[in-house]
């Protein structure tokens, strides 16, 4: 299975970096917000249920009397999560779920499927989910919708900004200034960037140039003259420019400037070394993120009406039980039917 660069750069690496700014361990053990439909889904499960949570992130779901197996590709996030029972974490890919077949009573896939970059991969993810469910097992799938009450996406495949100055710090959301007639959600949607994912099915008949040409094929739709934004800001510091930035940071925060300077000075002495650039880049990124002026971009494929239903229905073992639109998301409850190949047609 090919790991596409867009997912690596605009999904996995971004979540890793964002993990650096979440203070999970110090956060108060307040119960995180769980969408009512998910809470209901979990509460209705039989006692002793085994639930696979695909793309669990910080693993905020619990089921009394059962067990949750949380799967995520982001190691930086998983190691920060406090282990307080109820959830066991596994570092694994949703396209290669590491569980025995037909072993789970239920599966959750909340706000994850929209990060896969092609239809083939999204379908694979649902097939994997179907494989781990036992017959009669249920799945709840949430994806971000193309149809938004507060704005219009420029395309179904988009890079969506995540502004760090709007993320929670110490478990509290900082005050966000609301512009007149513009919500945070509207601004995020409006500043998202349309991209074109070229069908990667061609990857199954390998050509040596495929990978190197991928970046060119993954391009901006709206402003073809512009380059893609980096997943996170980067710098190529020279002694001059870094000291300029440093001066700027000192103005913002003398403490931070001091800390940064101590990082930079020994670094400058060995600037020829390529590693220094990495170190400086990380230090500067952290500093700027602390100032919360950094924007991260994440890749999304936002789903049109009926698309998720069609995708799930295309898996022979899955049957859609209900489909809803909820706060800008499409949500589907599905059930695993016995393997079609074992059914006798009368």
């Amino acid at each position: 299975m090919n790991m596409l660069r867009v997912e690596e750069e605009y999904v996995q690496q971004v979540y890793s970096r964002l993990a650096a700014y979440s203070n999970t361990k110090e956060a108060k053990p307040t119960s995180p917000r769980v969408w009512p439909r998910i809470r209901q889904f979990l509460e209705e499960l039989n006692k002793g249920s085994v639930v696979v949570d695909i793309g669990c992130g910080e693993g905020k779901y619990r089921i009394p009397g059962g067990v949750i197996l949380g799967v995520d590709t982001c190691a930086d996030l998983l190691v920060k999560v406090p282990r307080n029972g109820g959830v066991d974490y596994i570092l694994a890919d949703g396209l290669e779920l590491p569980f025995r077949r037909a072993s789970a009573d239920a599966a959750l896939c909340v706000s994850v499927l929209h990060h896969f970059s092609t239809e083939l991969r999204r379908r694979d993810a649902m097939q994997q989910l179907a494989n781990v469910l036992r017959p009669g097992g249920k799945a709840l799938v949430y994806v971000w919708a193309f149809e938004q009450p507060n704005g219009t996406f420029p395309s179904q495949d988009v890079l969506v900004p995540w502004n760090l100055h709007e993320t929670a710090l110490n478990g509290r959301l900082p005050k966000v200034k609301f512009h007149k007639e513009s919500t945070k959600e509207q601004r995020i949607i409006q500043s998202s960037i349309a991209v074109e994912i070229v069908n990667d099915e061609a990857a199954s008949c390998p050509s040596p140039s495929w990978f190197s040409s991928f970046v060119e094929r993954f391009r901006l739709l709206r402003k073809p003259s512009l380059d893609l934004p980096p997943a996170a800001p980067s710098f190529n510091p020279t002694p001059r420019s870094s000291s300029t930035i440093l001066t700027g940071i000192r103005k913002w925060s003398p403490m931070l400037g001091k800390r940064l300077a101590s990082l930079l000075i020994p670094v400058e002495e060995q600037l020829a070394d390529e590693m220094t650039q990495d170190i400086m880049q990380t230090a500067l990124q952290e500093a700027l993120a602390t100032l919360r002026k950094v924007t991260f971009y994440r890749f999304y494929h936002v789903f049109k009406k009926g698309e998720l239903e069609a995708l799930i229905s295309s898996i022979p073992q899955l049957k859609v039980l209900s489909s809803q639109f909820e706060h800008g998301n499409w949500c589907i409850l599905a059930e695993k039917v016995p393997d079609a190949s074992k059914l006798r047609v009368i």
């Binding site: 090919n2 002793g48 009397g65 066991d88 596994i90 694994a92 290669e96 590491p98 025995r100």
Partner: protein, 124 residues
């Protein structure tokens, strides 16, 4: 990683691996967590557990204790047995160790209590 979790893990996603189960477990560091005994939980979860996998794994890590090789018919009424099952399923935490695919020999490390089941593109 709890042994209950290990009971569900498989490396069947690897290329040329059919079932990849059970994964061989080696433990370098483990802890015994304080978890309150919950009889209902054990009674409800046991039908989902592959008992042979559980016993062979316990044997491999030297934790079989008083558990019989085969689950007796009346296990639901045997409180001593339920308590021992509870201990091995959810109280033992593997912190550092590794899992090995029984078919290909591929090793997956366990660090900070988290098994790393990620693989390279050409492995699956």
């Amino acid at each position: 990683m709890k042994l209950l979790t290990h009971n569900f893990l498989s490396s069947r996603f690897l290329k040329n691996v059919a079932t990849g189960y059970p994964l061989l477990l080696r433990v370098n560091e483990k802890e015994l967590r304080e978890v309150e005994f919950d009889q209902d939980f054990v009674q409800n979860i046991m039908p989902k557990v592959d008992y042979n996998c559980l016993v062979s794994t316990l044997m491999a890590i030297g934790e079989q204790g008083a558990l019989p090789n085969e689950l007796p018919e009346n296990w639901r009424e045997n409180e001593e047995l339920l308590k021992e099952l509870h201990r091995v399923l959810v109280k033992i935490e593997v912190i550092v160790g590794e899992l090995e695919c029984p078919e290909s020999g591929r090793v997956f490390p366990i660090k900070d209590g988290i098994p790393n089941m990620l693989c390279q593109e050409d492995e699956c």
